[in-house]
């Protein structure tokens, strides 16, 4: 997949509003593979909704969203499964990890599906992000910041053309934010993929190709 295009897209919940001044909603916007995008937004402007639409989890919008020119409203469950395994990776704002499993198992559950990374790669990321000692700890016993780093490692355990990172560093300190930025960027460059980061203020310091106000 090389492009994601939005044509006059608007969440249905905003349909009654007349004060929409957004770089994304009701505009023609194109995201291209290999670029870095930042979408800045205040709370309640539909940032997570946008991510849900792009990952096929929600369809409550008006207008069109196209992947490589194909309207995503025509995609079937099997198409979405294939996209989520090979083209679209997502760091969810609410993380969507499994508290019953350990940090390592949370990452494994994804890598077993894609067989994308070696154990060594994953161990190295755990070390770099300072959670190597939490590897076998149940996720429920980790802080939100630690869980956020596990979610980022999990999102990198697959091939992707686009990585959607919904407030990926909201609970990380400056140093961890820098390390996360380096790891994601390195992986995205290696795959020639695009990264779309959303933020409500605190964000990774990257040379973004384009910034949008939502």
């Amino acid at each position: 997949m090389t492009t994601i295009t939005l044509h006059h897209t608007l969440p249905r919940v905003f349909e009654q509003r007349t004060d929409i001044h957004s770089d994304v909603w009701l505009q023609d916007v194109t995201f291209e593979r290999g670029h870095l995008y930042l979408i800045q937004a205040a709370s309640g402007t539909g940032k997570s909704s946008l991510c849900s639409y792009l990952t096929g989890y929600r369809h409550d919008y008006r207008g069109d969203i196209c992947f490589d020119g194909h309207n995503i409203s025509t995609l079937q469950t099997a198409d979405w499964t294939a996209l989520r395994q090979r083209s679209l990776s997502h760091v969810f704002q609410e993380l969507r990890l499994f508290p019953e499993l350990t940090a390592w198992e949370n990452v494994q559950i994804k890598n077993q599906l894609t067989s994308h990374k070696t154990e060594g790669d994953m161990v190295a990321w755990f070390k770099a992000l300072g959670i190597a000692d939490k590897r076998d700890v149940k996720l429920a016993r980790m802080s939100f910041g630690q869980q956020q780093r596990v979610a980022i490692i999990r999102a990198l355990c697959q091939p992707f053309d686009f990585l959607l990172a919904d407030e990926p560093v909201s609970h990380l300190d400056h140093e961890n934010c820098r390390i996360v930025g380096d790891i994601i960027l390195e992986e995205a460059r290696r795959q020639g993929a695009a990264v779309i980061v959303t933020s409500i203020g605190h964000h990774i310091d990257w040379p973004y190709d384009k910034c949008f106000e939502l």
């Binding site: 469950t77 499964t81 997502h90 599906l113």
Partner: protein, 393 residues
């Protein structure tokens, strides 16, 4: 897959699954037992070792008062016979042919003479349970019903202080017959009783003799048979009773009882099986409710798995395997219990019918497999459908 199982086994209720297991086991066992018991008991009604061995039936048309007064013929037409021959239960059909002339029989024994009017009938030789001996020219062999001899020996002779007669003695008595046909044509013949039939309740002579004598003495008489002898494949076949009932025919003896008993047995089996299937259906409902509750409790996990790239098929698999495993256990246990129970009732049956052969267990096992497949397939589709609905949030 291990991690998926670890994740999705959360909220599995052992109590609910045990409830399903026991209910389904009971339902399945009742179904299998009813099939197996039917298989085991049916040889007691039919087959070579059965209590009913009489495969010959003698049919006549019911004589109603009105038709008798009208002079309506109670005879079988060619079409009646052909229809009967085409029935699945029929092996072959023979007709009773009556002599179309008058017969007067007399005998002289110790200087005392006795005489009586009588009649002759014949059936095809293959239906006669006595082999016709070759007799000299001008003599006719006769077969009498065994019941006549019994009637004489234990009824008539006993009360009149007459000597009892054995078959051997009777066969030595020479009989004289005078046959009187159309236009007063007469024929004199000698005859001898050559045997006694338990099957045929008439005065029998060879079919060839009846044909020749009818041709000679009553060439213009053309009558249809009033009685038929039918050899059936299985006297316990309930189709015979239905056919006879529908056509208003009558049987000479009570050989229909086996068919009626079989029919009754079939109804009982069907009712018991229906109860078993109902219990199975209810237990299936319990399982589906239990699994749906499980899916609902784990809905968030299932959605998360789907959002990180797992297919609905793969996320359904643990629950599908769980239900298939449970169903397989139910099948296994019900087959074990079936054989265990069967062991007890077979002992009881053998006391009543010592020569009874065991029925095949294959139909019951096939029935079990069919139920297992049906329930498992329904489970698989229902679980998949439920998990698919989570994808389309």
């Amino acid at each position: 897959m291990r991690l998926i199982f670890k994740l999705l086994r959360q909220h599995v209720s052992i109590g609910q699954l045990m409830g399903f297991f026991l209910a389904n086991l009971l339902g399945m066992l009742i179904v299998l037992l009813s099939v197996q018991f039917y298989q085991d008991i049916i040889p007691a009604f039919s087959g070579e070792d059965g209590i009913i061995k009489n495969t010959y039936m003698i049919l006549s048309k019911r004589i109603a008062a009105v038709s008798a007064l009208n002079g309506e013929a109670q005879t079988f037409t060619e079409a009646d016979i052909r229809e009967l021959e085409q029935q699945g239960f029929t092996r072959r059909v023979g007709t009773f042919t009556a002599a179309q002339y008058q017969v007067y029989a007399s005998l002289y024994m110790g200087g005392v003479g006795m005489g009586t009017d009588m009649f002759f009938e014949s059936v095809p030789d293959a239906f006669v349970d006595v082999k016709w001996p070759t007799v000299p020219e001008g003599e006719v062999p006769i077969v009498l019903p065994r019941s006549y001899l019994t009637l004489y020996n234990f009824g008539f002779a006993q009360t009149k202080n007459l000597p009892k007669l054995s078959e051997g003695v009777i066969s030595m008595i020479q009989l004289d017959f005078r046959l009187r046909g159309e236009d007063g044509v007469e024929q004199q013949l000698k005859g001898r009783v050559v045997g006694f039939s338990t099957r045929l309740n008439t005065v029998l002579v060879p079919e060839s003799f009846i044909r020749q004598s009818n041709a000679a003495l009553a060439p213009h008489a053309m009558t249809e048979p009033t009685r038929l002898i039918v050899e059936v494949k299985n006297p316990a076949d309930d189709a015979i009773a239905k056919y006879i009932q529908q056509h208003g025919y009558e049987l000479e003896d009570n050989s229909l009882e086996a068919g009626r008993a079989t029919y009754f047995l079939k109804i009982i089996t069907a009712v018991v099986m229906a109860v078993g299937i109902l219990i199975s259906a209810l237990s299936f409902y319990i399982l589906m409710l239990s699994i749906f509750l499980l899916v609902q409790k784990n809905a968030e996990k299932l959605q998360n798995l789907i959002l990180i790239g797992y297919s609905p098929a793969r996320t359904s698999l643990p629950y599908q395997l769980l239900t298939i495993g449970l169903n397989a256990l139910v099948l296994l246990f019900s087959i074990i219990l079936l054989f265990w129970t069967r062991h007890f009732y077979l002992e009881q049956l053998w006391q009543m019918f010592p020569t009874l052969s065991e029925g095949s267990t294959i139909p019951a096992i096939l029935m079990g497999l069919a139920l297992f497949l049906l329930v498992s397939l329904l489970n698989i589709f229902a679980i998949r459908h439920k998990i698919n609905s989570l994808c389309n949030n």
